[in-house]
Symmetry: C2
Subunit: 186 residues, 2 copies
């Protein structure tokens, strides 16, 4: 871990400590109730995934403003946004995440603790359901606010027996204005 | 406030500090997403209220077990459950609530801070919606687990312009076994 990355991690931890808090179990149960309601209403896993993605997106747009206001993060390049995602996971969800550059324009964020899935076991007939899609949508919302239009998806999930939960982030395009222009100049 | 009541308040505060935490804003936004989804699915405020009540009830049944395991609360009489409710509001929601005996078999729990309603404004056409019904259902679930079958409802709400949010607790009947028998002997 670089010293810059370590300093971000420390900062994220301090910010997490300072955040107004709710009870983790009730949060998990409320999220579970939301999933239950979506299942009842929409039934199809792909429609539920889409809906969770939208909800996460709008939360992400809100979270990133706070993230930028409270940290000295710079996200001039797509690669630099990986640090922002890690900080956000820590600051907003208390999740200690790691990141890994996969190739140009693609990285993954992965973690083991997940407050959304306390008490959760996916029954056999719901193995298709992306229970954690909210987190992918949340990343997408943050990244778009940072001028990076990305495709974000859950590619592994502890709920489904994987050893870590992984959000894959793929850059589609750099949007105009702000960070976008700086990125172009590199 | 009696010294017993003060000691409970201190204990509840310590327990709240120790609880695993989630971010309050994301919790509020997730609850908001749940309400939004219920509105889309059920449309009618009374159906939504019923659903929120059920969700709260099942959370309450879970919360009360933890409350009893971690505190020295005694709830032999209905009146004593008011302390339990106040402790639970503090321990699980971080809410500092007060209680007031209304008459025999009835009390209210009231508070001003409410983590469920961060960012929330009820539009005019949703004034009928009991946005916080989850909390009433949650009390009902806890009380029933304590052997007190109660009717719990939100009778005032800051969201609707009231100065406090109030849950009214009315005892229907003491259930058999455990606390119930002790209550009868008084």
């Amino acid at each position: 871990m670089s010293s810059q990355s370590k300093s971000y991690a420390v900062q994220a931890n301090v910010l997490w400590q300072k955040q107004p808090k709710a009870n983790a179990e009730l949060f998990a149960l409320t999220y579970g109730a939301l999933i239950g309601e979506l299942l009842r209403d929409l039934e199809q896993p792909d429609l539920i995934q889409e809906e969770l993605d939208k909800m996460g997106y709008s939360m992400g747009c809100r979270s990133v403003e706070e993230l930028l206001a409270k940290t000295e993060l710079k996200c001039a390049t797509f690669d630099e946004t990986a640090e922002a995602m890690k900080m956000a996971f820590r600051m907003f969800f208390g999740i200690s995440a790691d990141s890994k550059i996969a190739k140009d324009g693609e990285y993954t964020i992965y973690f083991t603790d997940n407050p959304l899935t306390l008490f959760v076991e996916l029954p056999d007939h719901l193995q298709e359901l992306q229970y954690n899609q909210l987190l992918a949508g949340w990343c997408r919302g943050m990244l778009e606010s940072l001028q990076f239009d990305c495709a974000c998806s859950i590619i592994s999930d502890i709920l489904k027996g994987d050893s870590v939960t992984t959000v894959q982030i793929r850059l589609n395009q750099v949007l105009q204005d702000g960070a976008g222009e700086e990125y172009q100049e590199e």
